[in-house]
């Protein structure tokens, strides 16, 4: 069997090196050098301009809020769904279907609702109520994040609730715990791996999105994702773009480290599957 090893390991190792490892190293290279290839930290310091700091703060605040609200909304929903009889399984499907629709179209739907001449304002006008300025605000972006990512919070929690052995819950009641105690001491800790993968699956995409802010923030509200995207597609300054990406990656690493700290299961990435 030994002779086959090269044939088996070769293709994916080459692929991983060429399209995963080297690309990442290139970001480090561009982020830490200037146009002539000399080492510099100025690309990272570029994050310090007031405009970019504002975008970074807004991204952090909105993504944290969206993650928190998704968790608050998804947990009770997951509990209700998990308690349903299997014959009612189609109800679970109903809550998952929207996720299968192209996410750009889902955000387009909200644009249509929130616009100045959009559906919500039409209704307000018909009811002779004052029009609201909804689109191009941070609120609109936050709403878009919650709508877009809610299913990614719902599913891991739902799956981990399904795995709980009902005997464990009954044992807690038998031993005198009330509903509240049972939830906080038994149910919630058992679903923690689901909660944690839900949090990472919402937080990282929300922090780094540029589509949601493009569609719902116009060009008026910028997130850090927009700032970086523009460096590459419009400004064409790869060094600054890569430097800003490095800063962004620090926040992703911090969130992963925090999540690993809470998730004792030690499965790392495998927990997502």
């Amino acid at each position: 069997m030994k002779k086959h090893n090269g044939l088996i390991n070769g293709p994916y190792l080459v692929w991983t090196a060429a399209f995963i490892v080297i690309p990442l190293l290139l970001i480090f290279y561009y982020g830490l050098t200037d146009k002539s290839g000399h080492f510099t930290l100025s690309n990272i310091a570029e994050m310090g301009t007031p405009e970019r700091m504002k975008a970074l703060w807004l991204s952090l605040i909105l993504s944290l809020l969206a993650t928190f609200i998704c968790l608050l909304m998804a947990y009770p929903l997951a509990m209700i769904l998990a308690k349903m009889k299997t014959a009612m399984g189609f109800i679970v499907t109903i809550f998952i279907i929207p996720m299968w629709m192209n996410s750009l179209l889902r955000i387009l739907a909200w644009q249509t609702l929130l616009e100045r001449n959009g559906v919500i304002n039409q209704f307000l006008r018909m009811a002779h109520l004052p029009e609201q300025h909804l689109i191009n605000t941070p609120y609109a972006i936050g709403l878009g994040m919650i709508y877009d990512f809610l299913p990614f919070m719902l599913l891991p929690i739902y799956n981990s609730l399904l795995k709980i052995d009902s005997n464990v819950i009954n044992a807690a009641y038998d031993l005198g715990a009330n509903r509240w105690q049972t939830f906080w001491k038994v149910t919630f800790p058992l679903t923690l791996p689901g909660v944690i993968s839900g949090i990472t699956m919402v937080f990282v995409p929300a922090l780094t999105t540029f589509v949601i802010s493009d569609f719902l923030g116009g060009s008026k509200v910028l997130l850090i994702g927009n700032v970086i995207e523009q460096q590459f597609t419009q400004v064409g300054n790869w060094n600054v773009g890569s430097g800003l990406s490095l800063v962004l990656m620090v926040f992703i690493l911090i969130s992963m480290a925090l999540m690993n700290h809470f998730d004792k299961s030690d499965e790392g990435a495998a927990g997502i599957l």
Binding site: L24, T93, M99, A109, F152, V211
Partner: protein
């Protein structure tokens, strides 16, 4: 009382999820160019969409890329799973696994940028010999294979590690060649993992926007990037028609294939925007 409350909560989330989609569907039949007015029912946006050569080309590209990238990433993932499963040294295995998982854990915008940088760098390198790299079909395909790879590996590796080595060795003792032993003993056990990895890769590829956006180059579009440019230009009612068609086909497919699969997809997918 509790039951009533949970019903109300289900209804609330249901409306929140479906109202925007319903609005898109209704507007796709609106015979008025501005969304501000209802101009009666029409099917003309559907007709225009189907006659739009760009949208149809994007649709074709999306399907071809999804199919090819799912096939190739499943094949590479199978090799990787076999190779990793055989690897004796745990430390080497962990290093390779972590490298493979980077695209799954990292922000999509960073993966997209890093791939764009590496294609440009390879292009410059090949330029010395007079070759060039054209951004388009090939680069998008490579990008999709790359972000699919961790998902296919993680679908195939768990069933593979559970395969009983003794059965495989017994087959060898009884005179099977190693290839025969693999296809008769190991393959049937890991087939479900291979299939779910393939499906996962296919749907991830269908949905991707961010990575495609950075590696596609001008003149090549998938549905997601097409929607993005159309929406940024100002919403076209054709996009509403497209959403409706996609939503209806997703609904139909889910009804045909049943529910178990979406749970699997959802549990492992990473949000797109």
């Amino acid at each position: 009382m509790k039951k009533v409350l949970s019903r109300i909560y289900l209804a609330f989330i249901f409306i929140l999820l479906y109202a925007p989609i319903l609005v898109l569907i209704i507007l796709s039949f609106n015979d008025s160019k501005t969304r501000a007015k209802w101009g009666g029912w029409t099917l003309k946006w559907y007709q225009q969409m189907l006659l739009n050569a760009d949208i149809m080309a994007a649709f074709r590209n999306t399907l071809i890329i999804a199919l090819l990238s799912a096939l190739i990433s499943t094949l590479l993932g199978l090799l990787a799973a076999i190779g990793l499963n055989r690897m004796k040294r745990k430390s080497t295995r962990t290093v390779i696994m972590s490298a493979l998982n980077i695209p799954m854990l990292n922000a999509e915008i960073v993966t997209g940028i890093s791939l764009m940088l590496v294609f440009i760098a390879f292009g410059q390198f090949l330029n010395h010999w007079g070759y060039t790299i054209a951004f388009g079909f090939g680069t998008v395909l490579i990008g999709h294979i790359t972000f699919n790879l961790p998902y296919t590996v993680l679908s195939i590796l768990p069933p593979l590690s559970k395969v009983n080595v003794s059965t495989y060795e017994a087959a060898l003792d009884l005179g099977c060649s190693s290839r025969q032993a693999f296809f008769r003993i190991v393959f049937p056990d890991i087939l479900p993992g291979i299939l779910s990895g393939f499906l996962l890769a296919f749907t991830l590829s269908l949905d991707d926007f961010v990575i495609t956006h950075f590696v596609k180059g001008p003149g090549f579009d998938t549905l997601s990037t097409k929607i993005y440019t159309e929406v940024r230009k100002g919403i076209k009612p054709e996009m509403y028609a497209l959403s409706t068609l996609l939503f209806v086909s997703v609904l139909a497919l889910l009804l045909i294939f049943g529910r178990s699969r979406n749970e699997h997809k959802a549990a492992s997918e990473k949000p797109v925007a």
